[in-house]
Symmetry: C2
Subunit: 460 residues, 2 copies
């Protein structure tokens, strides 16, 4: 009997119990951002610790962090075998506006084979699946084929303010061969995805000052520099007409896409027409020589996020503005370094500073990009496990956004990161009526169980 | 005995009476913008009509306009002689903040040979001077050497909404050989100025739209156009690095400066260092090949008055903005046409529209530029009258700003306009503690009396 048949049988038999247990977890309103839920955070952490105990994990602890606690556990009785570090979070987003929920957010309800509850998909449901995958292997084999460690935090929805420090402090304790995170989504319904890279982020604000105050455009116009014109000249200098960034050295450390990656993206047959419809544009726009997926997954960006200066009310005010500013962020890709990029941006602005104004630059928070090589065994193994269950080719994707905590794991623990998620972008994370397609709950449990066997065969 | 000696004697003898009479006029709180002063507007108009009667003018009428009335009068008993149309306004600005006035705005007070009151300089004091100049000539000669007409309006401080229509309707009645306005200033203390040109104004708003809503800069950044970048590209395309406007055809109808004008400006020895100090810039900025005075008086401009788009709060928001906009105005010089310039701006934006966005343009109100040729006899005569009294060379200037009603006179009545003012830019028009230097009240009366004789000798 194959692993998968055994897992099938086990999960089918225990489905009702599993859903009932997950519902207990979902009923705890563990909203990390609201202080009135502080006690609920402790309750959720304790529930998780108890659930880990039922799964037979060792060294379970609820670790205080200064914020909401981290729940730790491990099982390290597979000598010579790889160790997987599981990461997830037990905190959830607020639920406002409550009146838009068809059923209350903390009363889990199944409709149409979807489980509706805050946290069903993001991320309690997926954390729960990790535990149940282990439980299945213990039940079927009396042991696990790999070593495992868990850190489940309670502050992901508020930006993980305490986790990097916790990870740094427990670096040795958290040592592993890979980190597995199920907090992302499938590529599309029925089409699983392993996300093997995310973009990083860095940003600056540019403030331009001309005269000491706004001037009358009649009396002074033509003889004194206008702060908005100066700013526009700087902003226009950043990109060419296709969006290719003109900052000297900006692309120097960009890791080129491999032929395999480009082919993998091409095979996804991305529907650009559907995208144009979705965002409401007549034409897409971006760096020549790259497809939309390449542009948004594997190429860096420089975007003005906001601009301000002068009079923006109704009608006209003939002012010669003294001040103008812009906020700019860059999405970065491996191997760009956020600090280096900020230095390049500063040098660029200095070089392109128009006459007649002073320019100051301030920096925003930074996050590094991350990538686990596309052909890394832990990535390819994840793809195989997905394919065995979903019976279609796995999509190998990157994310255009940034998950700072993933970059922190990458940097502090220096582990390959496997983002193997089961959500769908239509499932209203962070919005009313969050839900989780139970089809992916069921399949995901099987994928995760299979993946433990897959990893056990790897030499890492 | 020369004209000037006779005028000197007359004004010296009557100074106290004149100031007492002016104070009556200044005590009327004729604030045109505030509806609670509607009755005061009528009072001020009636006071003016009575003052005109004392001067011996004919055909005095208080003409309703739909807003505050226009006061008309004339004296047309100098056959074969030129006719001067005097324009001024009896309305004043609001007085807030009242607590900043050292003495109440409607209780005229002399301190340090300056008359403090709302309207002392702008424009009741100067209107009163016109009347007293005529009164002096009647007293000295029993007649006037020229024909005169007066229109004194009550809505200048609210943009003269009804005057163009009034002028259009009374085109024949207002026919004259020149229009004389004393609502501007000296070039500097002790240095008189004839202003013979003003810039016009036209403006557009540019609205750029990309996607149908703001997008996540991680998920879409690199593949969808950013409305702010697109706008910045358009704005940057308008001017080169020296501010020279790059809109095709923009300068085609600009009347070149004559050598005489350039020399006259040069002779003013404009202090650029003092200007830099005043506005707080390290360097001036503008079109190459022109001095600061030429840039601001005789060259057109294109200024962004305001820009907006995306996130402008504190910190960072990684949005890919769908919308951005800018407000733009151009100061125009003869013989640019506001409608033609708007058409050129539109064509320019169309030509420079970046990919991936839609751009819409809306128009603001327009005002034509005006110029009375520098060497026109009425301009040169004004210069001579100033010089006779102030005993220094007159400055021949233009104004960088726009006075829409002047352009309207120019266009409707097609008269040479003589801007012959006696204020100083330090006199707080529109601000608390407005005042008028009585030195210029005294000298101005003599200049105006002299000018009537000057004009009587011209063949117009």
């Amino acid at each position: 009997m194959s692993h998968l048949s055994k897992l099938d049988g086990y999960f089918a038999e225990n489905r009702d119990n599993h859903l009932a247990e997950l519902n207990e977890f979902l009923r705890i309103p563990s909203i990390s951002s609201l202080s009135e839920h502080k006690q609920d955070m402790q309750t959720a952490a304790s529930w998780l610790a108890a659930a880990m105990k039922r799964v037979n994990l060792d060294n379970i602890s609820i670790d205080e962090t200064g914020g909401h606690p981290v729940v730790y556990a491990d099982w390290l009785h597979a000598p010579g075998k790889p160790t997987i570090l599981f990461y997830g979070h037990y905190d959830v987003q607020p639920v406002d506006p409550l009146n838009l929920w068809e059923t209350p957010p903390f009363e889990p309800t199944v409709r149409d084979n979807k489980l509706f509850a805050r946290g069903a998909s993001d991320d309690k449901g997926q954390v729960f699946m990790h535990l149940k995958a282990l439980e299945a292997l213990f039940a079927l084999d009396g042991t696990l084929p790999v070593n495992v460690k868990f850190i489940i935090e309670g502050e992901e929805e508020i930006g993980s303010p305490n986790l990097p420090q916790y990870v740094e402090k427990n670096k040795e304790k958290l040592a592993a061969d890979l980190i597995l995170i199920s907090d992302t989504g499938l590529y599309a319904p029925g089409k699983p995805a392993v996300c093997y890279g995310l973009r990083g982020l860095t940003g600056i604000q540019i403030d331009v000052r001309g005269a000491k105050g706004d001037l009358h455009s009649g009396l002074y116009g033509g003889g004194v520099q206008n702060a908005i014109h100066a700013l526009a000249d700087i902003l226009a200098s950043f990109r060419d007409e296709h969006g290719t960034i003109q900052v000297e050295g900006f692309y120097d450390n960009v890791r080129p896409l491999s032929e395999e990656e480009r082919q993998a993206y091409l095979d996804l047959n991305f529907d650009e027409e559907a995208l144009k419809e979705e965002v409401g544009v007549k034409e897409l726009f971006g760096e020549k020589g790259y497809s939309y997926l390449e542009q948004t997954w594997a190429r860096p960006t420089l975007e003005v996020n906001g601009v301000f200066g002068g009079f923006s009310g109704e009608g006209i005010k003939t002012v010669l503005p003294a001040e103008a500013g812009a906020k700019i962020t860059c999405r970065l890709v491996p191997d760009q370094d956020p600090d280096e990029i900020v230095a390049l941006l500063k040098a660029h602005v200095e070089k392109h500073k128009p006459a007649g104004v002073e320019v100051t630059i301030s920096e925003f928070d930074k996050g590094a990009p991350f990538i686990t090589p596309f052909d890394h065994p832990v990535i390819q193994a994840a793809g195989r496990s997905y394919e065995r269950v979903y019976e279609v080719p796995t999509a190998y994707t990157r994310g255009g956004g940034s998950i700072p905590i993933v970059a922190a794991f990458d940097q502090i623990l220096q582990l390959p990161v496997v983002l193997m998620g089961f959500g769908l972008s239509s499932e209203n994370f962070h919005a009313p009526n969050e839900h989780f397609h139970l089809e992916n709950f069921d399949k995901g449990l099987r994928v995760l169980g299979d993946y433990l066997y897959e990893v056990s065969t790897l030499s890492l």
